[in-house]
Symmetry: C2
Subunit: 124 residues, 2 copies
Amino acid sequence: MEDVKKSEKYSCVATCPMRNVIAHFANKWSMLLLVILDEFGVMRFNELSRAIPDISPKVLSGHLKTLEAIGLVRRVLYAEVPPRVEYDLTGLGMTLIPILDELSEWGREHLEDVSGNLAKKVVD
Amino acid sequence: MEDVKKSEKYSCVATCPMRNVIAHFANKWSMLLLVILDEFGVMRFNELSRAIPDISPKVLSGHLKTLEAIGLVRRVLYAEVPPRVEYDLTGLGMTLIPILDELSEWGREHLEDVSGNLAKKVVD
DNA sequence: CTGGATCCTATGGGATACTG
DNA sequence: CAGTATCCCATAGGATCCAG
């Protein structure tokens, strides 16, 4: 840390794990979905819809699919009519929960309340 | 948790701390900026630019301003010619670092490497 | 009930040039 | 050096309707 010039240690483009996190979670719903699934356990599509009233079905579906692809969420389809689909966290998904809880708690302590409004301008 | 029907506990729109976190950090650069500032300490604008080569000056400036407004980053302007501005984490900013480090470490262990490519399609 | 298909827009972000 | 001004664009996300 001391024996190397800053400029030589710079550039974090490759092999920066935080970038992987950001690539997956810098979006409006992924982290929220995970904490909701943790809080309520097994949930059906419409239950998730009701739990997060301000997400559209298309976007909800898309995020669930992505989270399933990463291996954080499990999707179980029951061959019934009408169809029943249940979502819950995988083991891997659960390993993320403690961290998200810390994050959440940190936000509760240190961030102004946005009253659910997730649209937040950052630049401009 | 057991004595209340799910549907009655639903809806997390108001007073969900995770939403506050998302409102501030569901973007491409905020969390990365914080960990970089933690790693390198006091940094000037161009040092940050070089540390994150793929961020434009406008966007960098915007995020720094926002992070300063939240109280996570401190900006110190020195009345010199040419001007010198130094950025570093505030005490509050530092309280977030352990959590971000956990997140980062989690990503290193469990996420595929995106090789710095932060543009990640989630839906569609 | 689960979600796909469509259409649409807001905006986060990029590139570049320029200034005090 | 430290940004701002401009212009531009991709796309994440929203609304609605429809289908198996």
